[in-house]
């Protein structure tokens, strides 16, 4: 139990297109340690989400994993039977997707969606899952009397928190967050991610955090990997990647982000 929680070794994912094979992920290797916040950055289309889908084995044709290994605690996820995989998904690896609006079922009360996940994986009764749901709502700071509401009755930020709460209900070891706050405004984004950092500290799970916003990533992650066209071009400690990036692309990515201008630069520009 001392090795890294997740090891991705020489992972390649291809997409079969009309024109032939497109290598979306090329020979990517990285580790995520226990209790580590690992970030994967890169522009859209660079393969970062494809990796997330490969880890949970949600990659569907025309995508397929062409090679490599994904080891969770030393067990290869890619070689697992579908049945064995069901004991891993949600229970050990949770996932939070980009569009919170779409990841909850609009026809079910939030409470029922908790029960759905909990009864499926732990076989617990309605009373038990209600108690757990209440506990989770308190954790993410939503009044527990709103458990009987439908998703549309919540704001976007609250819905994303509910998804995170459902994810945490089974105490997974790894949570994959694919652009969890891209659709939200900066204040709400900050609120949610501060909570994630807190919960990570108190619960000790690992996080794979995927975003194109390097600034944000540098604020919350311990280690960062930068992807370019399917290849992992740089992996390093957050301090190193943000202060002394080695790869040329990482430097350019830093330079491309609209920053809050300083007083001096603004006066120069608007003069």
């Amino acid at each position: 139990m001392t090795g890294p929680l997740l090891q991705v070794r020489n992972l390649s994912v291809d997409y079969l297109l009309d024109k032939g094979v497109f290598n979306a992920v090329k020979n990517v290797s990285f580790n995520i340690g226990r209790g580590e916040l690992f970030g994967l950055a890169g522009e859209s289309g660079c393969g970062k989400s494809t990796i997330a889908y490969a880890i949970t084995r949600l990659a569907k044709p025309p995508a397929w994993v062409a090679g490599g290994e994904i080891l969770l605690d030393g067990h290869d996820l890619l070689g697992m039977t579908e049945r064995a995989l069901q004991t891993v998904r949600w229970k050990r690896i949770g996932m939070v997707f980009q569009s919170a609006m779409n990841s909850l079922n609009p026809l079910m009360r939030v409470e029922a969606q908790f029960h759905d996940v909990l009864s499926r994986h732990t076989g617990c009764t309605r009373e038990k899952s209600r108690a757990r749901a209440k506990e989770m709502f308190r954790l993410v700071g939503i009044p527990t009397d709103r458990l009987s509401n439908y998703p549309h009755q919540f704001s976007g930020g609250m819905r994303q928190r509910i998804v995170i709460a459902i994810c945490l209900a089974l105490s997974p070891e790894l949570i994959i967050m694919d652009e969890p706050t891209t659709a939200l405004d900066v204040v709400v984004q900050r609120e949610i991610l501060e909570q994630v950092v807190d919960l990570q500290k108190s619960h000790g799970f690992s996080v794979l955090f995927i975003t194109h916003d390097l600034h944000l990533m540098a604020q919350i992650c311990h280690r960062i990997g930068v992807m370019l066209k399917g290849e992992l071009v740089e992996v390093g400690d957050v301090r190193q990647v943000s202060r002394a990036p080695v790869h040329d692309y990482t430097k350019r990515l830093w330079g491309a982000i609209p920053n809050l201008p300083t007083l001096g630069s603004m006066q120069g520009r608007l003069a």
Binding site: E43, S44, G45, G141, S155, G156, L184, D185, V186, V187, V188, Q189, R190, E191, L193, E194, Q195, V197, D198, Q200, K201, H212, D213, L214, H215, L216, M217, A218, Q219, I220, V238, S242, R252, L253, A256, I257, P258, N259, L260, P261, L263, M266, Q267, L270
Partner: protein, 313 residues
């Protein structure tokens, strides 16, 4: 921007506004989406409207683009009152003058038509070109002006373009009408961080070259500072702080503006575990004090105004 009638400024202002909103309100039932919005758009200048989702920025844009009507207040176009619907000719003139670029570059182009078609339509509808040759030439110049290669792009279909390229086509389409006012509603929020800057620079250069009045709507105060000379920070349908961008950003006075600025991701300030409860409470307190309606406005700089905090209802 003359949110408050200011005789000194009005007298020295060299250009008159194209569009002016005066005390605009909009209610949807019990929800007051806009409360007393007043600002004006001036040729060659950009105004940024900043605020969280649901604060009323898009409602403002829809009213200016005439997709919605205010509940009360006055809207002036070149000094004439256009609050009520005018004759067909007047409406056409207005729509020719005011064009919009939408948030979602993937949904705002018709997938079955080529890029060329998207640009020829507005050119013909507004009578800017005659004949096929003239149209192709104009399409080429338009594409060049937004930084796309006409030979490679004109015959392509939307699905063959990236998000950034699509947004450029949307900007070209708006420009085809030869507008005086461009309303850009979150034009970069669905785009990758790495290509946002390019689109923002394009908007700025178009504004300068064509002397356009630009209304830039965003929730990202950092990008607003890149594009706009003037900024309006909105919260819960009210303008809480407005004025010259430099002044507002470097010397924010309203608690909500301060909150917004503090939440901009800063890579050199990592989150401290255990801090979330404090930040959440802080944000909620600021929302509570910023929400009540208030009529008080304080002038804190030559062009920098702050709304005083209202009494809790």
């Amino acid at each position: 921007m003359n949110a408050i009638p200011d005789p000194v400024r009005a007298a020295t202002a060299d250009v008159s506004p194209v569009i002016a909103l005066e005390n605009i309100t909009r209610s949807f039932g019990l929800v007051h989406a806009l409360r007393g919005i007043s600002f004006s758009l001036v040729p060659g200048r950009a105004l940024a409207l900043v605020g969280e989702s649901g604060c009323g920025k898009t409602t403002c844009a829809r009213i200016i683009a005439r997709m919605d009507r205010p509940t009360s207040g006055t809207m002036l176009f070149r000094g004439n009152d256009v609050t009520a619907i005018g004759s067909g000719a007047q409406e056409r003139a207005y729509r020719r003058a005011v064009q919009m670029v939408f948030q979602d570059p993937f949904a705002s182009l018709n997938p079955v038509f080529s890029v060329g078609h998207h640009l020829v339509r507005p050119l013909k509808l507004h009578g800017h070109v005659q004949g096929r040759k003239g149209a192709t030439d104009r399409v080429d110049t338009l594409l060049e002006s937004v930084g796309l290669d006409p030979i490679l792009t004109a015959h392509k279909f939307p699905h063959e373009l990236s998000g950034g390229q699509r947004q450029r086509v949307n900007i070209a389409r708006a420009l085809a009408v030869q507008p005086e006012v461009l309303v850009a509603d979150e034009p970069t929020s669905m785009l990758d961080v790495s290509i946002r800057l390019g689109i923002l620079e394009l908007l700025s250069s178009i504004k300068r070259e064509r002397n356009l009045a630009l209304l830039y709507i965003t929730h990202d105060i950092a990008t607003a500072a890149h594009v706009a000379e003037e900024i309006v920070v909105m919260f819960a349908g009210q303008m809480v702080e407005w004025g010259e961008t430099t002044s507002v950003i470097t010397d924010p006075r309203h608690p909500y503006t301060k909150l917004l600025l503090s939440a901009v991701p800063d890579p050199y300030k990592p989150f401290v575990p255990g801090d979330s409860a404090r930040f959440l409470q802080h944000a909620e307190e600021i929302r509570c004090v910023s929400r009540p309606t208030s009529d008080g406005v304080e002038k804190v700089g030559s062009n920098h105004f702050v709304r005083t905090l209202g009494e809790a209802a």
